[in-house]
Symmetry: D2
Subunit: 107 residues, 4 copies
């Protein structure tokens, strides 16, 4: 089952990642996600409190930047593990899937 | 107190918004923020579950896009209310502050 | 003739800019556009020469960044002049047009 | 000489691309670059003519979008050829270089 399936890529053979992420990477990502969630909860409170637009937008930009950084970390890890493994296994279709992820990331 | 203060813009006279956001806009924004937070919690569970990179990145892109849309809505509201009011009041410095927000938004 | 016309905004009353850009701004913008055009001609030569992808992409990124900077300068000038003038003249529709330009800029 | 060299990546062994781009891709890219250059020359004329900001920004956005599309095409081609070849040759450093290009592309 190495083929790509439309809308639900299963390149690594299933929906799990073949090479698990390191404990360190997982911990770092979870910490960043917690921070982003905390910032968004902060924005919710600021909206309730009728806070000034500039301040709310600054907080939103911080949250967006945190989410983006997580995407970048996971994309880099994806390239270093899944993409390399699939290419070595002869499954070059993984490259088009990766470009699709890059395109979405760069929006 | 109409001046801009470095790092903590107080163009509207204080850190509250002079013209409160409409109840409808507040409700819409809070709903979108809740959805983004839900998506990020979903990502946390996917990381714990060693889910495939492509699926995690898709969920992260959805969250980022939700946050971005909120920023855009609040920036538009800011321009329609605070910026217009300050310009009419002769405080053109609000334009440079708005451009700074635009620059941050477009990163 | 103060209305917005679909696809061909004429907020300033006609397709000319009401307050001309300063000579200094014009010269700066033209210099930057010349540089971007030079960089794109450089990319064309690199393609003819089968140059390495990374080098071509670096040159393209420089050109894109130059074009983006010009957009940012003109958008800031637009806000400081046309937008302020129209708001003072009571034509608040200029704000929605400006947000549309911001949205396109931030793509 | 397969190593990456700071600032001047030579992953494919030299500054030429190991697998030449197809004639069709080259022709498509050159056509798009010509169009972008034409649009930038159009912007220069619009600046000389004091044209309305919104119209100038629309033209700039078109040029930027054309340049971006060329970057995307070349990045995809890079991944499909150089990156795959280098990974097969055991040179995994190409992945980090590719991520650096992705990061620059997504700015």
């Amino acid at each position: 089952m190495d083929e790509l399936k439309g809308g639900a890529p299963a390149v690594c053979g299933c929906r799990q990642k073949a090479t698990p992420r390191s404990t360190a990477l997982q911990a770092d990502v979870q910490k960043r996600l917690n921070r982003a969630i905390g910032q968004l909860n902060g924005v919710k409170a600021m909206i309730d409190d009728n806070r000034y637009c500039g301040d709310v937008l600054t907080q939103l930009a911080a949250a967006e930047s945190a989410v983006r950084r997580v995407s970048e970390m996971l994309l880099a890890e994806h390239m270093r593990t899944c993409v390399v493994e699939e290419i070595r296994a002869g499954n070059d279709a993984v490259v088009d899937e990766a470009m699709e992820l890059v395109r979405r990331f760069s929006k």
